[in-house]
């Protein structure tokens, strides 16, 4: 697959932006201005960016508690995200959701659930709506290896195959669910679905290689748009930080830090950056310009969030019913 130079640069920019946003959240988290648990996706940027780059604005995504990357990659508004982390009225969920329930329907981000696996059938249902309305969109579902423990994944895929729904199941296998390694929850590498290809297109790929993710998801999107049905893509990646909070809050003693160090060498942002410099797509100066632009945007977003009002307590009863 031929990928245009500007697409590669744009994908790099998006990954860099997500990384820098995460770093900024992490370094400010202990100031306690963001009073909501954060689940950072440092190390997993390539999955979000590679997948969302293959999508249109009118395509849906369904996400989970570790979803800052998905939100930003799909085009979600940064100011509203940072405001939501501060539980402010200007947040994407008006301060009712916090970090685990973010949404931006204007770009097809239809909401994230913090019940592990909860977004999987909802994304499948979005695929059903697309199919019934005969739209040309697709529905992409991001979930982790923990969600692959849940029976609802099997139930949902079975239904999507049955109805040939335009749904793409993207498993981000980051190896960890809170402090449980995937090997303590699943025998061997049994997540990957070996369904007959005529029923379900399945692929297992390097989730730290943004170009591979982009190509594979593009193929799945074409497959879905043609009406051939769902696909399942397992992206192998790694959760560099702990389950929630910032690095200094990560509990000790559940994983060998050498493991994390090994994966840091495979950092999706840095490895792609090197590749782009070596291929003369970008210069060091280009990258520094990008970084200062992103830094300014992030500082503006934090400033916007901090200056925004908190929801008044009398508004607690808003939005119970429409």
């Amino acid at each position: 697959m031929q990928i245009a130079d500007n697409t590669k640069i744009l994908m790099f920019y998006e990954m860099k932006r997500i990384r820098m946003v995460q770093d900024h959240i992490e370094s400010h988290y202990l100031q306690d201005e963001m009073k909501t648990p954060v689940h950072l996706c440092i190390g997993q940027e390539a999955v979000a960016v590679g997948a969302c780059s293959a999508l249109q604005k009118t395509d849906y995504i369904s996400s989970n508690h570790r979803s800052h990357g998905h939100y930003l990659a799909k085009g979600g508004n940064l100011n509203n995200l940072i405001a939501e982390l501060h539980c402010k009225m200007t947040g994407c969920s008006k301060g009712y959701g916090g970090s685990m329930h973010i949404v931006d329907t204007s770009v097809g981000h239809m909401g994230s659930s913090s019940i592990v696996g909860g977004g999987i059938p909802i994304g499948t249902g979005l695929g059903l709506a697309i199919s019934m309305k005969q739209q040309n969109s697709v529905s992409v579902i991001f979930f982790g290896d923990g969600a692959a423990d849940e029976g609802v994944l099997y139930e949902s895929i079975n239904f999507a195959i049955l109805k040939k729904l335009p749904v793409i199941y993207i498993l981000e296998n980051n190896q960890w669910s809170v402090c449980s390694h995937v090997s303590s929850r699943q025998a061997g590498k049994n997540i990957f679905h070996h369904a007959p290809q005529k029923l379900l297109m399945t692929k297992k790929i390097d989730g730290n290689n943004v170009l591979e993710v982009y190509e594979t998801v593009s193929e799945a999107v074409n497959f879905a748009r043609k009406g051939y049905g769902p696909s399942f893509i397992e992206c192998e990646t790694y959760r560099i930080l702990g389950h929630a909070g910032c690095a200094s809050q990560d509990a000790d003693g559940y994983r060998d830090l050498k493991e994390a160090d090994e994966w840091k060498k495979k950092c999706p942002v840095n490895t792609f950056q090197e590749k782009l410099i070596q291929g003369n797509f970008l210069s060091i100066e280009d990258i520094e310009n990008m970084e200062s632009r992103i830094q300014a945007e992030i500082e503006d977003a934090f400033d916007f969030a901090q200056k925004s009002p908190l929801p008044p307590s009398h508004e607690m009863t808003n939005y119970l019913f429409k």
């Binding site: 909401g111 249902g125 139930e155 949902s156």
Partner: protein, 349 residues
């Protein structure tokens, strides 16, 4: 005694307000079926799903003929995957459709609790109103003839507990259709719990599309001495009890809330302020259930009007036994309601 013949076909009771609603007499199942047919005809976003919606019995007759008329894409059988399929219905609703998901027993809804309680009921709130879930879930309480502990549960108390979920329990053919149409029109998740006993009755139902407002109860019989708030098919038992007691000089007011959430608090409170006595009859369990909540409501907001303690008539806190004699002892009916009414009358401070 075949299971289906447990309650004979009957005409609906002659409630004081029945009057002329411009309808014709059809069965409860036909009323639901007609509501679905009209919704499917008029709104292309509506679809009907559920395990067995296309089988010959058609979910007690409520979905019969719909697949033939509207096709397999809009009326379809589902895999036995209640969790995922409830989530699929949620997602389809978020994506702009109006799913109506049928279950032939509320017991199976317990498999769907994650998507019902954690997702559908929370989605509008937790995204600050950015999205909503216009979903209808329907299930039928299947009491009777050895159904035992997992096929007859009246689980409204569990669902009543959940903010963000509307809960309807119709008792007449007119309301079955009108509340279903209101539920489909509603932009929120709505659970309708019907009762098999109501399916055997025929009542006046208009042919046109009409809605019964969600959150409005109705007085089935006005009275001065005692208020009975009765749920679902117990409305009929309460009404018959009231008619019999009228001959003994006790004038009973019967209230049918029709919808438990939102609950028509004003209707109940005004009645108790008038009569000073309250009996609550529910098909579910007593502890932590519907009768407990309504009793708490009245004792906190109309305590000074009460002339006697509130009496509750509900199933004992036990799973349903299968054996005929045990089952007979387990379920409540007219004699239990009468006994409770007389306790409030005979009470002396």
């Amino acid at each position: 005694m075949p299971w289906s013949k447990i309650k004979p076909d009957t005409d609906e009771l002659n409630y004081c307000h029945n009057g002329n609603c411009g309808g014709r007499q059809i069965s409860y199942a036909q009323a639901v079926n007609e509501g679905l047919r009209q919704s499917l005809t008029l709104d292309e976003r509506v679809f009907v799903m559920g395990q067995g919606v296309d089988d010959p019995s058609g979910m007690f007759g409520t979905t019969r003929g719909l697949q033939e008329e509207f096709g397999k894409k809009r009326v379809f059988d589902t895999p036995l995957a209640e969790t995922a399929l409830t989530g699929v219905a949620n997602g389809a609703a978020i994506g702009g459709m109006r799913p109506v998901y049928f279950h032939n027993r509320p017991d199976f809804l317990l498999l769907a609790m994650d998507q019902l309680v954690n997702h559908a009921s929370k989605w509008h709130f937790m995204f600050g109103g950015a999205v909503n879930v216009p979903l209808v879930l329907w299930a039928c309480i299947g009491r009777g003839w050895g159904s035992a502990a997992q096929h007859s549960q009246a689980l409204q108390g569990i669902f009543f507990h959940v903010p963000g979920l509307k809960l309807l329990m119709p008792s007449t053919c007119y309301d079955a259709k009108g509340l279903l149409l209101a539920a489909i029109k509603d932009d929120n998740p709505v659970l309708i719990l019907d009762h098999r006993y109501n399916f055997k009755q025929k009542g006046m139902v208009p042919e046109d599309m009409y809605t019964v407002p969600i959150g409005k109860g109705i007085v089935r019989r006005p009275g001065r001495d005692v208020t009975i708030v009765a749920i679902s098919h117990l409305v009929a038992d309460a009404f018959m009890t009231a008619e019999k007691l009228a001959g003994q000089g006790v004038d009973v007011e019967v209230i049918d809330p029709r919808t438990l959430r939102p609950l028509d608090e004003a209707l109940i409170l005004n009645s108790v302020m008038k009569t000073g006595r309250l009996v609550i009859a529910d098909t579910g369990w007593k502890t932590g259930g519907v009768t407990a909540e309504i009793a708490a409501l009245v004792s906190s907001k109309a305590f000074r009007f009460l002339k006697a303690p509130i009496e509750r008539v509900a199933c004992p806190d036990l799973p349903t036994p299968a054996g005929y004699t045990l089952e007979d002892a387990y379920y409540i009916g007219q004699s239990d309601i009468k006994h409770a009414v007389m306790k409030t009358i005979d009470f002396e401070r």
